[in-house]
């Protein structure tokens, strides 16, 4: 990295935004240095609506107390699209979040943002990645209409493109730093509902567990989603969760991963660049992962963000960080994703 081209040092480190699917994960995030913890209610109002996961009013209240005592903030994801028959459920979820005293809500749907801005003018609004706002003009639309304070960039932009967005919006920009990589634009993918009837937009989950079947055949382990064969694993393969965009299919006789090998996004090496261009916050994916995952990722990224803030020019990714992250990654390969132009 050429230090000479970097602008002035940032005034404060980028915020570390960590996932919590459960109270122990929230504690792990807070104890290991998360600035913000994001989580969801136990229903389809959030995009990780999985059995046994997420928070009810009591655990959320306790979680907020715990986080606030240690100086961390709690963000509630209400980032699915309210369906016509259950609009009131989303409306009620906004009201619950506001009355429990969360620090911000993360919303995708324009109608729900309009409601939240009107009903709770003091409540801080973040635009979810599911809102698919990929340009400063789209982000500024949500800012002008609803006063959003932060937007999460879809994982499709290169670093150069993200930099241009940041320079032209008053809204804080949060980018994904680590976790499972979605190959499709978030909020614009109906592959899961095509096979199963449920998608992130409509039901808060990609590839719902009830639609998954694992079958051990004599020669291979097969994974199916809604009856559709996603992949077959030999004895040496590492099976992944059967998400459609990570499946192996056949095109003109070639069997391969037509969308993406199962990899994890990891942008540690880009931190000096991201900090210099004014990224406000780094998001860690994984509300469906265990407290051990949250603890490991939060610890590594806290250390890396602090090191980068102390001395951006001398920042080097430590092998120990990469080892720790590789140990909990799906697919064991890490990629810079769209941030790295040749990936496209």
């Amino acid at each position: 990295m050429n230090a000479a081209v970097l602008p002035q040092p940032a005034a404060r480190p980028m915020k570390l935004v960590c996932p919590a699917g459960t109270p122990p994960a929230l504690k792990a995030a807070v104890d290991n240095g998360a600035d913000d913890v994001y989580l969801g209610f136990k229903d389809e109002t959030n995009a990780r609506n999985f059995a046994g996961l997420n928070f009810d009013d009591r655990s959320l209240r306790e979680g907020i107390d715990y986080a606030h005592r240690k100086g961390a903030q709690v963000l509630v994801a209400l980032n699915t699209y309210p369906q016509p028959e259950s609009w009131r459920k989303w409306q009620a979820a906004v009201n619950r979040a506001a009355s429990l005293g969360v620090d911000a809500i993360i919303v995708a749907d324009a109608g729900l943002l309009a409601y939240a801005a009107k009903a709770h003018p003091q409540l801080r609004l973040h635009l979810s990645v599911q809102g698919s706002a990929t340009s400063h003009e789209a982000i500024n639309f949500y800012h002008e209409r609803f006063g959003i304070r932060r937007a999460v960039l879809p994982r499709v932009l290169s670093v150069e493109q993200a930099e241009k967005v940041i320079a032209r919006t008053p809204v804080e920009i949060e980018v994904f730093g680590f976790g499972s990589l979605s190959i499709m634009v978030e909020g614009r993918c109906a592959l899961s509902s095509y096979a199963t009837g449920e998608s992130p937009n409509t039901h808060g989950g990609c590839s719902p567990a009830k639609a998954i079947r694992w079958q051990q055949r004599p020669d291979a382990l097969e994974s199916r989603l809604g009856g559709v064969l996603i992949d077959r694993f030999g004895a040496e393969d590492h099976p992944g969760y059967p998400t459609l965009c990570r499946g192996r299919f056949v095109v003109n006789g070639d069997t391969y991963y037509p969308f993406e090998e199962p990899t994890s996004l990891n942008t540690l090496e880009l931190l000096p660049r991201l900090q210099a261009m004014g990224v406000a916050a780094i998001k860690i994916e994984g509300r469906q992962r265990s407290p051990v995952y949250v603890e490991t990722v939060t610890r590594v990224w806290r250390e890396a963000l602090d090191a980068c803030f102390r001395d951006r020019e001398r920042f080097r990714v430590k092998p120990a960080w990469q080892d720790a992250l590789a140990g909990i990654s799906e697919g064991h390969q890490c990629t810079l994703g769209a941030y790295h132009r040749p990936w496209k």
């Binding site: 719902p208 009830k210 694992w214 590492h238 992962r289 407290p291 051990v292």
Partner: protein, 155 residues
């Protein structure tokens, strides 16, 4: 991923031999009793209701032991035999212990094929997520100390 973390740590051969000779039922009874003592009260009632009537199998590969239990009336009860459990877990004792101590990540073990899960994926996720929700710091502390003592170079 470094090689040490990747290599499953197995019980010594003699232990395995003993394990295979043990009758299954007493082990399952002991295990179900332990579950009732440590976890039952921590399991939300709605989750236990969702698991009601289902049989689960935990295979400790290196000990040659299969533990079978069923959820009945919100309790864990040992089972002598089951045709087809709703879920069957397979791993070595060390990996179960690191999971229980929250030293290992279940997804990582799964991706590495060190934790094999057969059966109903939705119930598997429900169980995983519920276990992730439960805080048993004292039991975990003890487990972590035992693991450290047993680890090479530890103790």
């Amino acid at each position: 991923m470094n090689a040490a973390a990747n290599a499953p740590r197995k019980l010594p051969g003699p232990v395995r031999a003993v394990g295979r000779r043990l009758p299954r039922m007493p082990a399952s009874i002991a295990f179900a009793t332990a579950l009732n003592l440590t976890l039952r009260r921590k399991f939300p009632a709605d989750v236990l209701d969702r698991l009601e009537g289902h049989t689960f199998a935990i295979v400790v590969e290196d000990a040659g032991v299969e533990l079978l239990f069923r959820v009945r009336a919100r309790r864990f009860v040992p089972v002598a035999q089951a045709a087809e459990p709703v879920l069957r877990f397979r791993a070595v004792a060390w990996d179960y212990a690191t999971l229980a101590a929250r030293e290992a990540d279940p997804d990582t073990l799964f991706f590495n094929r060190r934790l094999l899960v057969e059966g109903d994926t939705e119930i598997a996720l429900l169980v995983k997520n519920t276990l992730d929700t439960i805080d048993i710091p004292r039991t975990r502390g003890i487990l972590r100390r035992v693991l450290r003592a047993a680890a090479p170079g530890g103790g």
